[in-house]
Point group: C2
Chain length 244, copies 2
């Protein structure tokens, strides 16, 4: 299935024992109800990624094993009826048994949006990060170029206990300026925890002249989180697409 | 000044004694504070129109008489700092003494947005009216054509005690379909209470085949609210522009 959500009210994708305000939790609860599972039993919805609290998605993908006589359309209609208005199942279809939304993903696209204007983002205020000073987008682009490619992104990983490989590939990336919006698109093999937000925060520092575009190479090389810029806030981040 | 607001949380434009959750009330309170007016004294912000509870504006205009040493930029910065995040003053400048945002308005543009899709409007859910069945937009266009021009719009007036003239001119109007969005734009001399919402609700009925486009003529002629269609809900309506 393909899912959109406004992450504002949620504690991220991943199910938690202490709250039902997670995307995975909401999806599973609705499916458990549909299947009339006994208390304590649950389906497991496997997402392509685990977005942080406050992060949005236009097209997150997920798979789940369901034993039901309902059709694809009936399942989707049921889910959309009982899910809150800030979560929508946009597509749902039967997949191969061995499909796995995370392991089979070939690439993911994220977009980080800054808003810089004399006016406030009244209608988009939950989906952008407001910045006061206009950054030099050409400098940001020169920094971004140095992130593209296969690198060890350890310096851009928010999990300092990360045991597994921190090597990732960014296939391509671009920055689009549209009036007050400055949008950074990242298309890559996968992203480490907070990686897009740390890259976005670092590029903003470069755009504001607090760091040089060329410093990206040294930051990558040092493999320590402290050399990269700050983690940009969650509300500017949106998962755009997963390709298979 | 030109103001954007997300009307979701507000009881409309007009100041009320029983709540401070109105747009005019918020603007006046911030200006009273800026001017350090004594308790009980207030400035009066005159808006180009009085939007209903839940209705939005991209560019409402308003004027106010202020006795202050502050510059235009300082006033606007002060207002944006103390106004809530769902109200933004986008432009503010000194005008002629005799300027009046309502009396001097030559025309206004409103947009009514329906959303019709298999998926839910996750990111726009506060700004659209969801409809289940896809209307025939060509039929809606044929109905809309009959509304354009100078007519007595009494049948499209939500205030049945209206004493003043209910004649208004619609200069032009159009319907744009963009994916799930069906947007009806009305550009006219001015609009009666609920007029855009009643026209939109009537056009939807026509699109769904419950009324004929040609019936618009008879509805206009009868000059009674009961012959027009239902009042479409407020959240789909947005004031787009005022021209002078």
């Amino acid at each position: 299935m393909t899912i959109s959500y406004d992450g504002t009210r949620f504690y991220g994708w991943e199910r938690q024992l202490t709250t039902d305000m997670t995307i995975q939790g909401k999806l599973e609860n609705v499916l458990n109800r549909m299947l009339e599972l006994p208390e304590g039993e649950t389906v497991t919805v496997i997402g392509a990624g685990r977005t942080d609290a406050g992060v949005h998605a236009r097209a997150m993908t997920a798979n789940v094993l369901l034993d039901t006589g309902k059709t694809e359309d009936e399942i989707r209609a049921y889910m959309n009826q009982y899910l809150p208005e800030d979560i929508s199942v946009n597509e749902l279809k039967v997949c191969a048994d061995r499909f796995h939304s995370r392991f089979k993903a070939k690439g993911k696209t994220y977009c980080y949006t800054f808003w810089c204007a004399d006016r406030k983002p009244v209608f988009d205020r939950k989906y952008v990060t407001v910045i006061e000073e206009r950054p030099d987008v050409d400098r940001m682009r020169r920094g971004l170029e140095r992130l593209v490619g296969t690198h060890d992104f350890k310096s851009f990983c928010g999990n300092n206990k990360m045991k597994k490989s921190t090597v990732r590939a960014i296939f391509d990336a671009e920055i689009k300026e549209q009036g007050p919006y400055i949008r950074i698109y990242f298309h890559g093999s996968g992203f480490l925890q907070n990686m897009v937000r740390i890259m976005s925060g670092t590029l903003l520092e470069i755009g504001l002249g607090h760091m040089e575009p060329e410093e990206i190479d040294a930051i990558l090389e040092k493999q320590q989180r402290k050399f990269a810029g700050p983690t940009a806030p969650p509300q500017g981040l949106c998962m755009m697409n997963v390709d298979y």
